[in-house]
């Protein structure tokens, strides 16, 4: 992590966040469900996802404010979304915020296609508990993999959760980097012991960042 730092995502990062959403949804495959279920090609989906980020709605996976990124001075190279469910200004669930964003942004033909794919769309819904940390959409640019960026970002989200007394994180298995998920899942299952390890690792990481 030398010469790199973690920061909140900014408007200029939206192209990278769009890439993050699509690559994480593909999970190493060829098709992103968010495009396929709505009958969109990838370029159409790319533009619509960017529009959703530009709305700057807080509290879901399409919120600019949910993302932390790793920057080495030339823009984002890794991104992870994290938010505390229902902790936004109006206490809205991510499910409803996401639905509102999609409904407001996507064209009518996409909504018709979505309705036709209703059961598949419903099957992708993630049950979320209010007040828990949600970690989604993990992506590291291909050239920057193997440097621990995804783990550092997840730990940073978790550190914020520890500080705000969030009971436990919840992971959705969407991402191009798998290792950090095991770590987070273990924290979920085993509680305090791994939480202690997490905090120690985070301190190590922060020290490196400050010196870098």
């Amino acid at each position: 992590m030398n010469n790199s730092w973690i920061r909140p995502a900014r408007i200029n990062d939206i192209p990278f966040l769009v890439e993050t959403v699509l690559e994480a949804e593909k999970s190493g495959g060829d098709h992103a469900p968010i495009a396929r279920l709505f009958g969109l090609n990838e370029e159409e989906a790319r533009g619509l996802i960017a529009t959703m980020f530009e709305e700057e709605i807080e509290g879901c996976e399409f919120s600019l404010g949910s993302f932390l990124v790793v920057d080495q001075g030339e823009g984002a190279e890794a991104a992870v979304a994290g938010w505390v469910e229902g902790a936004n200004e109006d206490g809205m669930s991510a499910q409803i915020l996401r639905a509102n964003l999609i409904g407001f942004t996507f064209p009518a033909r996409a909504m018709d296609k979505m309705r036709a794919n209703g059961p598949a769309v419903s099957a992708l819904a993630v049950p979320r508990n209010t007040g828990t940390l949600q970690i989604e959409y993990v992506h590291v640019a291909a050239a920057s993999r193997g440097k621990g960026y995804a783990q550092a970002l997840i730990l940073q989200h978790m550190a914020c959760a520890v500080r705000s007394n969030v009971p436990r994180p919840r992971c959705k298995s969407l991402g191009t980097t798998r290792a950090p998920f095991h770590y987070t899942s273990n924290w979920d299952l085993n509680g305090r012991k791994l939480m202690f390890r997490t905090i120690r690792m985070l301190r190590t990481y922060c020290l490196i960042t400050r010196n870098g």
């Binding site: 709605i57 109006d90 669930s93 499910q95 509102n100 409904g103 979505m114």
Partner: protein, 91 residues
């Protein structure tokens, strides 16, 4: 007596809005197993998920011939706030 004359009218409009919302919900959800009151939220109603939510919002826009703004619908905490929003748009 002016107040007395206006109050029933306001109530009647609210009742009409409530009734139309109820009809829209039944049409989208395919059931009427809910009691419509101001504190009702999506999580209280069977089948009101992200998928049906989009159809409900679209259905309400058609029913009342209004267009919601994204920031308006993101502030709808419960049925009471939805009725107030529609009422304000119809005023």
């Amino acid at each position: 007596m002016v107040d007395g004359a206006e109050t029933p009218l306001v109530h009647m409009e609210r009742d009409l809005i409530t009734s139309k919302i109820q009809m829209t919900l039944i049409a989208v959800l395919g059931h009427g197993r809910f009691e419509l009151h101001d504190d009702l939220t999506a999580s209280d109603v069977e089948g009101w998920d992200s998928l049906t939510h989009m159809s409900i919002i679209t259905g309400l826009e058609k029913e009342f011939d209004v267009k919601f703004k994204l920031r308006e619908i993101n502030k709808l905490r419960n049925m009471g706030t939805l009725i107030e929003l529609i009422s304000a748009k119809l005023a």
